[in-house]
Point group: C2
Chain length 409, copies 2
């Protein structure tokens, strides 16, 4: 038991907060940091000095101030001292990256994922192989401080059990534990739903930067989503929050959905509905297929126009419902919903105007994702950075010495 937070706890918190500011916002002067954190400059100086000694930040001249006179130094995160590993288990590809502080992609691996090879064991084996290559390529003296992974399924907090991934036929798979074991880095793999992590990424580094109330919708073979409320990811009771693809928009006579129900937003406005409506081959999914429908609609193809109109209708109705319940400031359309939004914005807006309450929608911004196919991977990296941003020096100490590259062992 203790009498309030100790000096040490306050210092750890302040170190983490300072590192978070430069990690997210890039180079910041000490004066700006002092102002943002409500601390005096000598305290900031001490914190910067500690982080610089640990190799996590450096001070340097700003790149271009645009002002005359001697510019102030800025504090910048060192992207080459502490890194995380981030993984994205996509519908048809596996991606891995080594990401440095500041969100800098240092190295990257990718492999196609064919339908017959989506077992958890096969997936984690490929990812572990990537991890070995990525850590081998790290400069000596750099350390891995976290691992994060995005999966297209319902992920239980806090243990990363994948309860259901409809498009993978996964059910209650111990993906997080399995990957942790295979990587053997002494760090637990933090697992999150891909659309929730996409929401986090667009909130921190994309179309929703600075916005504390954000709704993210992600389209690929299904429709996923993530809600940022009060600046935090809304996980709900066990981490399953944000499944906007299973908002019921057409319960009576709607299309069957992969989840077993009917009339879900995903069933009415997902890729399959669009491609079928446009009389395309519904098995040829993905961004190119969606883009082809949007382009055909632009050229006047009647089936494509009708399909895009319908999908825009359902999407607008779904977003309107969510605007009434969540009152977000920004809605971001990511994945293939980016293309759908660009092709059906008028229809989507019209439905929102009909169905969302005026006060709830009057300051609403509709945006397309800025991070493209990297959103989930960037979100996984941010999940992995949590530990070092909570206690920078402790995370470094825990990470221990840099392992020798495997070739030299």
């Amino acid at each position: 038991m203790k009498a309030g937070p100790s000096q040490e706890e306050i210092r750890r918190h302040n170190l983490g907060t300072l590192l978070r500011h430069v990690h997210i916002d890039g180079a910041l002067s000490r004066a700006v940091l002092a102002d943002r954190m409500g601390l005096n400059r000598s305290t900031i100086l001490g914190l910067v000095s500690d982080l610089a000694s640990a190799g996590l930040v450096r001070e340097e001249l700003p790149r271009d101030t645009g002002r005359a006179g001697r510019p102030s130094l800025v504090v910048r995160s060192e992207h080459d001292r502490a890194y995380v590993l981030a993984f994205d288990v996509g519908v048809d590809r596996l991606t891995a990256a080594r990401v440095g502080l500041g969100g800098v992609f240092l190295d990257r691996r990718e492999a196609a994922l064919s339908a017959g090879h989506r077992g958890v064991g096969e997936v984690t084996e490929v990812l572990a192989g990537f991890a070995g290559e990525l850590t081998d390529s790290a400069r000596p003296g750099t350390v891995c401080v976290g691992v994060g992974a995005a999966v297209r399924g319902l992920v239980r907090e806090p243990d990363g059990l994948v309860r259901a991934a409809f498009h993978f036929d996964w059910e209650d798979e111990e993906f997080g534990e399995d990957l942790t074991r295979r990587l053997d880095l002494g760090l637990p793999v933090a697992v999150g739903n891909e659309a929730s992590l996409g929401a986090l990424a667009e909130h921190l580094r994309g179309a929703g930067t600075g916005c504390q109330e954000l709704l993210y919708l992600h389209g690929d073979i299904g429709i996923g989503g993530g809600v940022i409320s009060g600046g935090r990811l809304l996980g709900g009771d066990a981490g399953y929050g944000g499944e906007v693809g299973h908002l019921v928009v057409n319960p009576r006579g709607g299309r069957p959905c992969g989840c077993g129900a009917r009339g879900c937003l995903e069933a009415e406005a997902g890729e399959r509905a669009l491609l079928e409506g446009a009389r395309r081959d519904p098995s040829a999914t993905g961004r190119e297929a969606v883009r082809a429908v949007v382009e055909a609609a632009d050229r006047g193809d009647i089936a494509a126009r009708a399909a895009l109109h319908d999908v825009g209708d359902w999407l607008g109705i779904g977003v309107a419902s969510l605007v009434n319940v969540l009152n977000p400031r920004t809605v971001v359309f990511g994945g293939t919903l980016r293309e759908v939004f660009l092709g059906a914005a008028a229809q989507i807006r019209s439905r929102i105007n009909t169905h969302a309450l005026t006060p709830a929608r009057e300051h609403l911004r509709l945006r397309v994702g800025e991070l493209g196919d990297n959103a989930a991977l960037i979100g996984a990296a941010e999940l992995a950075f949590s530990r070092i941003l909570d206690g920078p020096l402790e995370a470094l100490a825990h990470a221990g010495p840099t392992p020798e590259p495997r070739g030299r062992r």
Copy 2:
């Protein structure tokens, strides 16, 4: 600028936190408080002593420990030193209460509100009259530390402008400012949406006690709602969050809604839909009318059964959508939805089972509200208590000396 929180800030925070514990949970021993707050016993002793000197808590023997031996003293809030005024602008009545720390109702006023007298000026005049009577009846030495009001409309944060109250024909009404002016207590009136405040009340003192992820649905002439996420009320960008009555469940061919759209949950599952479906006089709304339909359905009245079945269907579909998006632990049915839930629970559950994802619903609890028609009033009181729970001694100092009852001036 400062170097971290000062001792004074830490102490203020700790005083507020301790007061909040006994305010919400009733009598607690110092040992329990020390454990909950992570502070040592001598710090707790000092905090209790400060609060006791201010007259906000007292220490006493527990009422019944059920154990042999000398029992430990417990700390209890004094409900007669600091109070708040709480108002509820209901569909057909105005309610006001003087509420002491610990949520104790000390006094109460109520008046019917007829359709022709729902102007903001008329409403605030009645409420100000109640406030005068309630403060006059307060014991000398007690002080008013906050005022809160619940209204059936979309309330803008933080200024309490009522943007729209469909059932009152209010639009952009400065209700909060008007009431603040009329009360002239030197305290701003904090205004909230009635269902959001009902959610807060059921979360703190009702069916959702201890639950950090709660969805509350409130039925009266419409359907309102409130979402507790991470233990906090989800307000969204401007405070309009939680409007679950305008979730779109039947967009194609649905019933017209008061908001101007079609197929909202409120239109399909609200009182009017139930009464019309049961072939009752739809103008005779309210709890008795709803209860009569449920009882008629119980007796086998075919129209009543069909109406209750339909309403249960839509309600279940709406809740399923919300479960997928929010992953709440508990759903609470309040207002007249209490009666609807009791009459249609099987139908509601069946639709949730069909439309909500298994992981999101497997630990879901469906409950009826425990606070009845007082939910919004209790929530308004809790809103008004925020200030004293943030800084107890500062709030008392700000409240100043007890005003003399008006009769004695």
